[in-house]
């Protein structure tokens, strides 16, 4: 792991807010905002190379998630708008590539010494940057992994660490196939007769 960076970002990123989800009424995000949000999701795929050419194939599922999370209570609309502004500030400061690199691999939600024993990290989300990491980036990562990203981990790797043979067929939360299926849903054990 890279060295931790708890001080990244500018004035907006460091703005202090309550740890709970930023309140907003349910609403439909404008198309332009959705596309900016999609870039965060796509960057996760690019940085971990866990979906290769599949990012676009996940878009309909991702759009559905964003829709229900913004149009139903409690709404993520303000949280998503905040993330877009945070990414814009980070990009301005570090350039797009470095901004995402630091956010994904180096940034840690800051914890004071006294707070390190707190079991629920979301109670420590006191900056807009921490909100972006916790409510947007982390949730997008989970969505991407369970929607197929897991398949690109754990297989045989080449010398540079790239998986050349996909191994996992299933993962917690992943829905594959139908009840009447002809192919295995998971890697199965075949006893020798």
């Amino acid at each position: 792991m890279e060295q931790e960076n708890n001080t990244m970002g500018g004035k907006l990123c460091h703005t202090i807010v309550a740890p709970t989800l930023i309140f907003s009424e349910p609403c439909t995000l404008p198309e332009s905002q959705i596309e900016k949000l999609w870039q965060i999701f796509a960057q996760i795929g690019d940085h971990w190379k866990d979906v290769y050419n599949e990012s676009k194939n996940l878009k309909s599922a991702w759009l559905e998630m964003v829709k229900v999370k913004t149009e139903q209570q409690p709404s993520y609309s303000a949280e998503y708008n905040n993330a877009i502004l945070v990414i814009e500030e980070l990009t301005l400061l570090y350039g797009e590539q470095d901004a995402y690199q630091q956010l994904f691999f180096n940034y840690k939600i800051p914890q004071s010494q006294a707070e390190k024993n707190v079991a629920k990290p979301h109670l420590l989300l006191t900056t807009l940057l921490a909100h972006t990491k916790y409510y947007v980036v982390d949730e997008f990562i989970r969505m991407q992994v369970l929607s197929g990203g897991f398949k690109h981990f754990g297989g045989q790797s080449n010398t540079s660490g790239e998986v050349i043979k996909v191994k996992g067929l299933n993962y917690k939360g992943f829905v594959k196939g139908s009840r009447y299926r002809n192919e295995d849903l998971v890697r199965t054990f075949e006893p020798k007769s």
Binding site: M1, K69, V137, L146, F153, G154, N170, K172, R179, F189
Partner: protein
């Protein structure tokens, strides 16, 4: 409200079978179902996404769980409250099938003759042969997938759906089973017609776990059943007796309004679970039943028992094939030690833990780990865990009773005075030593052993079935002894609890009771 043909108290697995079969036989039956909990929205995409993506993974039914502060239980000599009730049941429309694991296993013939075979516990007043056709109905009803080649007990019909296959991660344990003459089996799981994407289920890929809520909602929506009504947030507080041998109805409180009601019925069936039913019977005192209904012999609430879970965890230095348990439920089990020979020592139902080997790829990414490092970790050290349920025998001294105060549903708190025998502890130690040999046979280092304190998930025996009123609460037809029109359909009627999960047996009993009641009604109309 006019007199009902039936009142069913509770709305879980057993209640739903009874309502369905009674209404399908006579769609105009006046049937009132009273449920203390609420309707929890299912088929909710937002709930599903919250479950799948949020760190806390909120599940919408968990607010109905017993609070730890509600626990007034005691156990053993030191009287520490270690009978766990929190997380053991869901109080809601559809009952505990909102959160159950779906494991659907039949009891074995010897389970019905525990006393005859061992001199401990009690025999059931019915045998396996009597219940077998209803097991078949229950498996069909809940779409149980299982291995038709298994030979754990006699079967008249194959499973309705083929089994989930063993995962590659099961392989090493299967080899160890074979080396130790343990027969591996495929876990039978109750599924449903199709995935409902409930937001309350974690059983994908395509487990499509059975939930009584769906069946119940279909009954409510069916316009043929115009006299069927389910009232949620309705807490039954008393069963009213019109004589020593007959009851007239129930009193209940609407939790939304605080209003109290009395409703009469020709027959009442208590399906509110092994906790609430004995408390309701004990609370229903009258000049006919000064010690509580059906409690002249002081047996209501007694013989409470559950399963002790035993665990042994082993560690492997590496995981060269990068295996993880790709289903979120167990696929490997064995009933080799759930056998007549083992009955005297406490039967053991073995299964591989559903979560190991586990690799939470998303969390590693969230923690900032690179892909190369994650792949190394996947192929690094990993754990396998073998778990088991051990059969215990309900003791006369072990008793569920009414605690002091009420919970947030308005139900009286639960007090459980649980007594284990020294032999039970010795048996558990012996079983754990045996389980360690399996883990060691896999070439693993044993890193942890664990004896769980009693958890209420599989509670049985609080209103047990018996041949006579002097030895139990209900008769072989699940009718409370000496009361003509009061029935109990719950895990509480089990005379012994075997080593396996109780829900399939309860569902079979519900099918049998529904048939019995329909025959009674047919005879009465004739």
């Amino acid at each position: 409200m006019e007199e009902q043909d039936y009142i069913i108290v509770g709305s879980g697995a057993a209640a739903t079978v009874l309502a369905k079969k009674i209404l399908e036989k006579n769609p105009l039956t006046k049937l009132l179902m009273l449920e203390a909990g609420d309707l929890i929205p299912a088929k909710e995409r937002r709930q599903w996404w919250n479950y799948a993506t949020c760190a806390d993974g909120p599940l919408p039914y968990q607010y109905t769980y017993d609070k730890k502060s509600d626990n007034q239980s005691t156990i053993g000599k030191d009287k520490k409250p270690t009978w766990t009730t929190s997380g053991a049941r869901v109080r809601a429309f559809g009952g505990s099938t909102m959160h159950w694991g779906g494991w659907a296993l039949r009891f074995k013939p010897e389970d019905f003759q525990l006393f005859t075979n061992t001199g401990r516990g009690a025999d059931w007043p019915i045998d396996y042969q009597e219940l077998e056709p209803y097991y078949a109905q229950a498996e069909q009803y809940m779409s149980v997938c299982g291995d038709e080649t298994e030979n754990w007990q006699p079967r008249s019909t194959p499973y309705p759906i083929p089994p989930f296959e063993w995962t590659a991660a099961d392989g090493e344990m299967i080899k160890a089973f074979h080396a130790l003459d343990i027969q591996p089996g495929k876990m039978p799981v109750a599924r449903y017609r199709k995935c409902m994407t409930t937001g309350t289920c974690k059983y994908c890929p395509y487990g499509a776990r059975f939930s009584a809520q769906y069946v119940l909602q279909e009954l409510v929506d069916n316009r043929d059943f115009i006299n069927f009504k389910v009232l949620t947030q309705s807490v039954v507080t008393n069963i009213t007796a019109s004589s020593k041998t007959e009851i007239s109805g129930v009193d209940y409180i609407n939790n939304q309004t605080g209003e109290a009601f009395t409703v009469t019925a020709k027959k009442i069936i208590l399906c509110a679970g092994a906790y609430e039913i004995p408390k309701l019977l004990m609370a229903s005192t009258s000049k006919y039943w000064p010690n509580g209904m059906g409690n002249d012999h002081d047996l209501v609430g007694r013989y409470i028992v559950t399963h002790s879970m035993l665990e042994v965890t082993g560690k492997a230095p590496s995981n060269p094939h990068g295996l993880w348990q790709e289903y979120d439920f167990p696929t490997l089990m064995s009933r080799t030690y759930d056998s007549p020979e083992q009955q005297k020592n406490g039967k053991l139902f073995l299964f591989k833990d559903r979560t190991r080997p586990k690799i939470d790829i998303a969390q590693l990414m969230i923690d900032g780990m690179s892909k190369i490092d994650i792949n190394k970790k996947i192929r690094g050290a990993c754990e396998f865990k073998l778990q088991a349920f051990m059969e215990e025998v309900g003791q006369y001294e072990s008793r569920l009773s009414i605690g002091e105060g009420k919970d947030r549903f308005g139900l009286p708190l639960t007090k459980i005075d649980y007594h284990k025998t020294d032999d039970d502890d010795k048996r558990a130690d012996t079983h754990i030593a045996f389980m360690k040999t399996i883990i060691e046979e896999m070439g693993l280092e044993v890193v942890k052993t664990f004896k769980q304190t009693p958890r209420g998930d599989h509670t049985t025996g609080t209103c047990r079935m018996s041949a006579t009123a002097a030895t139990g609460v209900t008769d072989a037809d699940l009718k409370v002894h000496n009361i003509a029109n009061l029935y109990i359909c719950s895990n509480g009627v089990f005379s012994s609890n075997s080593a396996v999960n109780p829900t399939l047996t309860l569902t079979a009993l519900a099918h049998r009771l529904a048939e019995h009641l329909n025959q009674q009604d047919e005879t009465a109309h004739a």
